[in-house]
């Protein structure tokens, strides 16, 4: 035991002194740095689906609950009950996959956690106390408590859950935006290791980047859920009106489609307009990321923006270069985007940075696909809005099919956006301060990292399959019919009677 401790102390002292002790990579077949990065990427990519669903559903659920509690049209009780089921399962899966992320900072990125902990740990702790506690406790009331609590407390609980999910994103994005745009700190050497010290909390925690990210993310969540609702309801509307199969609760699905379209008409244009401002901000604060988004290698002026780019051979796909691409380019478009209106503006090329470029192909194509989808969603919104205006919303089979095909694309776009954000800032984990490769736990072996990575591939594939299965079941089951809701209400009103058809 004493020997073990002595070794450990030595190792810790060595790692504090910035020395990589040789046990780490030399004997391992798999690089723990690479495995840790893949694992964090995988666990984030899967996790983000569930917060997008719960954050995006929250405003809808608050609205449904408010209309339901006030009484009147029973469709709002159907809406509340049906979408609460999907919310609840998303929340549970989001909880269990979210704890993983918090732990991974310590398990896989211990050097990062030690260096940045003083500044980075605080927002995570506050997120837990301020946001996660609020949502998780009131979720219990909201999902299980309709019959147990008053209308007023029930409405409050829907608000608390919704506010909690949105506050959660505030603190997570405060932490993330600081890594993209670090301010308000100083680097101090402690025990031979460089450590971040908080100097100016307002500068550190309220970066301009936070504002851009928060609006972009929250609007994306609502837009993604609107697309999901529209796609699912379009299926039932199509089945009923175009196909001619009598469908249960068709009024419910029609209402869902209309509500989703209203949300899409608001969020889809906003996302693209605000995204434009966000891109400009990225150009100002992370020029290397912007150059990767546009695949600009040499500093140039009048850079075109390729909305559609078609690689004519494989190398153009794996190694895109703005100057050589074949596609539909807006002349000076990228320069215009970067500078806020000047098509002749100069964009700094990737070759001018001291650090190696991020994986350009991943960033470039993800950005293109995300932007392309953003415009497609606007088109869908106006198409649906127009059909609604002409009174043919329930008859346009092509629109229904387009909506069905797009039901998951909002989530795909969110994933791609995060890929641009996180891959685009490589090789930095904290922009300009700490490289990702230097943030990985010094004692971690490649074998350990590989075991957990392989475990996560299996477990998360299972989680995704189960989540899909449950959501599909909920959708197939549909909402409780108005008749069921009435008989339940009558039973509650007259507790002495035993209903015959239960």
């Amino acid at each position: 035991m004493d020997e073990e401790c002595a070794v450990l102390r030595e190792e810790t002292a060595a790692s504090r002194a910035g020395v990589n002790f040789p046990t780490r990579t030399h004997h391992d077949m798999i690089d723990p740095v690479l495995a840790s990065r893949f694992q964090f990427a995988l666990t984030t990519i899967v996790h983000i689906i569930f917060p997008v669903m719960s954050m995006g559903l929250a405003p809808f659920l608050i609205y449904f609950t408010w209309k339901d509690v006030r009484g009147g049209d029973p469709v709002y009780e159907q809406l509340r009950r049906f979408w609460t089921k999907i919310f609840a399962v998303s929340f549970v899966v989001g909880t269990v996959t979210g704890i993983v992320l918090e732990f991974e900072f310590g398990t896989n990125f211990a050097a990062f956690s030690t260096t940045a902990g003083e500044l980075f740990g605080g927002p995570l702790a506050v997120e837990g106390m301020m946001a996660f506690m609020l949502e998780a406790t009131f979720l219990g009331v909201f999902v299980f408590g309709r019959e147990r609590v008053s209308d007023r407390l029930y409405l409050v609980s829907s608000l608390a859950v919704g506010v909690g999910t949105w506050l959660s994103a505030v603190w997570i994005l405060i932490a993330n935006s600081w890594m993209q745009m670090p301010r308000g700190y100083e680097l101090v050497t402690e025990n031979g290791q460089e450590v971040v010290h908080l100097v100016d909390p307002l500068a550190a925690y309220l970066t301009p980047r936070f504002g851009y990210m928060y609006v972009h993310m929250q609007n994306a969540a609502v837009e993604s859920v609107a697309l999901f609702m529209a796609g699912v309801s379009a299926y039932f509307v199509y089945r009923h009106h175009v196909w001619g199969h009598q469908t249960e609760n068709i009024a419910f699905w029609q209402k869902t489609l209309k509500i989703a379209l209203v949300a899409l008409l608001i969020t889809a244009p906003l996302q693209v307009l605000q995204g434009d401002l966000y891109a400009r901000h990225v150009y100002e604060t992370q020029p290397q990321k912007f150059a990767a988004m546009e695949a600009v290698w040499d500093t140039e002026a009048y850079v075109p923006e390729y909305i559609f780019a078609i690689p004519t051979d494989l190398s153009q796909f794996t190694d895109p270069r703005a100057k050589e691409l074949f596609g539909l380019g807006i002349p000076g478009g990228a320069s215009w985007l970067a500078s806020g209106g000047d098509a002749t503006a100069e964009i700094r090329g990737l070759n001018t940075f001291e650090t190696e470029a991020p994986p350009v192909a991943v960033v470039f194509w993800s950005f293109r696909a995300m932007v392309g989808m953003g415009f497609w969603f606007i088109l869908l919104a106006f198409w649906g809005g127009y059909r609604w205006y002409t009174g043919e919303l329930f008859e346009d089979g092509l629109l229904h099919k387009a909506l069905m095909a797009s039901s998951l694309l909002g989530i795909v776009a969110v994933e791609l956006g995060w890929v641009v954000t996180e891959v685009g800032r490589q090789p930095w984990v904290i922009q300009g301060v700490l490289k990702t490769s230097e943030g990985v736990s010094p004692g971690l072996t490649g074998t350990e990292a590989m075991v957990t990575l392989a475990g996560f591939v299996g477990v998360y594939a299972g989680i995704l399959a189960l989540y899909t299965y449950v959501v599909a079941r909920v959708i197939r089951g549909g909402p409780p019919s108005v008749r069921e809701l009435r008989s339940a209400a009558e039973r509650d009103a007259a507790p002495g009677e035993v209903p015959g058809d239960d």
Partner: protein
């Protein structure tokens, strides 16, 4: 604004001993998690002994509204440790790498299983998700206990004797809490055996604690003297008293008193760990609370934040637990 920041960077708010308070707070949060989610884990273990559908459904209904909120205390534990003692958080979690992922895996299983169990009503489906629920509910506290034992012993390895016996102690303790909680929430739907399980678990727990302390004796720098210090002896004596009180209360049907005794046992165990560890916070490296704590400014900010937010959290839990107070009713399907 700058002057406010300067004032916050100059010294601890109200002159409080903040590093020590945060050390205590981290363990208080861990204890709260072990008690609250502990009775969910215990309910999951007891689920294994139940054969009838009605009884199994009752267990799931009893913990249904609560477990997600209870589990958040683990998130807050991680967050508080990260924020106040980042190098300890990083060192501990990376040192016990596979153990941490074992805990996460068990928590995933425990969280998903009840949700899945209720999706379909065919026997095979429910048998497998029932087993998953039990496995997650038993493994999570066992591995968490092993983590706490290794932390205290300063072990660089995750599989140790101290870890295993601490794991057994914590698992037994969750069954103690779970039995009292289930008696309180679902007495009518459950067989009388639950009482006997609780009484057996409390005896097993007390034995396991003695075994843990014995295994620790050789690994603490102060050795046996540390174990015989007045606060530790007082906490052990109080635990024996609470254990006996728990058994009596459960047999007499004073379920709430039994649950309170289980809470006392859990906080007592956490306190023993904290007392034995202090003034160090990471015995493996020998780092003390004063060395590992973040600088004054962030510590002050966190303290103000926690002082404002934790009372609110107590209110949220009060609302949740009062909304679902009393036994579950027959209609409350999960």
């Amino acid at each position: 604004m700058t002057s406010a920041v300067d004032a916050l960077a100059a010294g601890p708010v109200l002159g409080l001993p903040l590093p020590e308070l945060w050390f205590a707070l981290v363990f208080a949060i861990l204890g709260t998690f072990l008690f609250l989610d502990g009775f969910d884990f215990g309910a999951g273990a007891i689920f294994a002994t139940l054969r009838e559908d009605e009884a199994r459904e009752a267990v799931l209904s009893a913990i249904g509204p609560f477990w997600d909120g209870n589990e958040v205390w683990l998130v807050v534990f991680g967050g508080a440790l990260f924020a106040a003692f980042p190098s300890v958080y990083a060192g501990l979690f990376s040192r016990h790498y596979l153990l941490m992922f074992g805990i996460l895996g068990a928590l995933i299983l425990r969280g998903l299983a009840p949700e899945m169990y209720e999706q379909r009503h065919d026997a095979r489906w429910q048998r497998w998700w029932g087993r998953s629920f039990v496995a997650g509910s038993v493994l999570a506290p066992f591995l968490l206990g092993a983590f706490a034992g290794n932390w205290l012993a300063g072990s660089p390895r995750s599989l140790t004797l101290v870890g295993v016996v601490t794991g057994i102690a914590v698992t037994a303790l969750t069954v103690v809490s779970g039995a009292a909680f289930l008696r309180l929430k679902a007495r009518d739907a459950l067989p009388e055996t639950v009482t006997e399980i609780g009484v057996g678990a409390v005896a097993a727990y007390l034995f396991a604690v003695v075994a843990t302390l014995g295994a620790l004796a050789t690994r603490l720098p102060a050795g046996v003297d540390a174990l015989l210090s007045p606060p530790v002896l007082a906490l052990v004596a109080a635990s024996v008293g609470l254990g006996v009180g728990y058994g009596v209360a459960l047999r007499r049907g004073a379920d709430l008193a039994a649950l309170a005794a289980a809470a006392g046992l859990t906080y007592g165990l956490t306190a023993v760990v904290a007392v034995l560890m202090y003034p160090r916070i990471d015995p493996a490296t020998g780092a003390t609370v004063g060395e590992a704590v973040v600088s004054t400014l962030p510590l002050n900010l966190m303290s103000i934040g926690a002082a404002l937010l934790l009372p609110l959290v107590v209110v949220y839990f009060a609302v949740l637990y009062s909304a679902f107070s009393g036994p579950i009713t027959a209609e409350e399907a999960y």
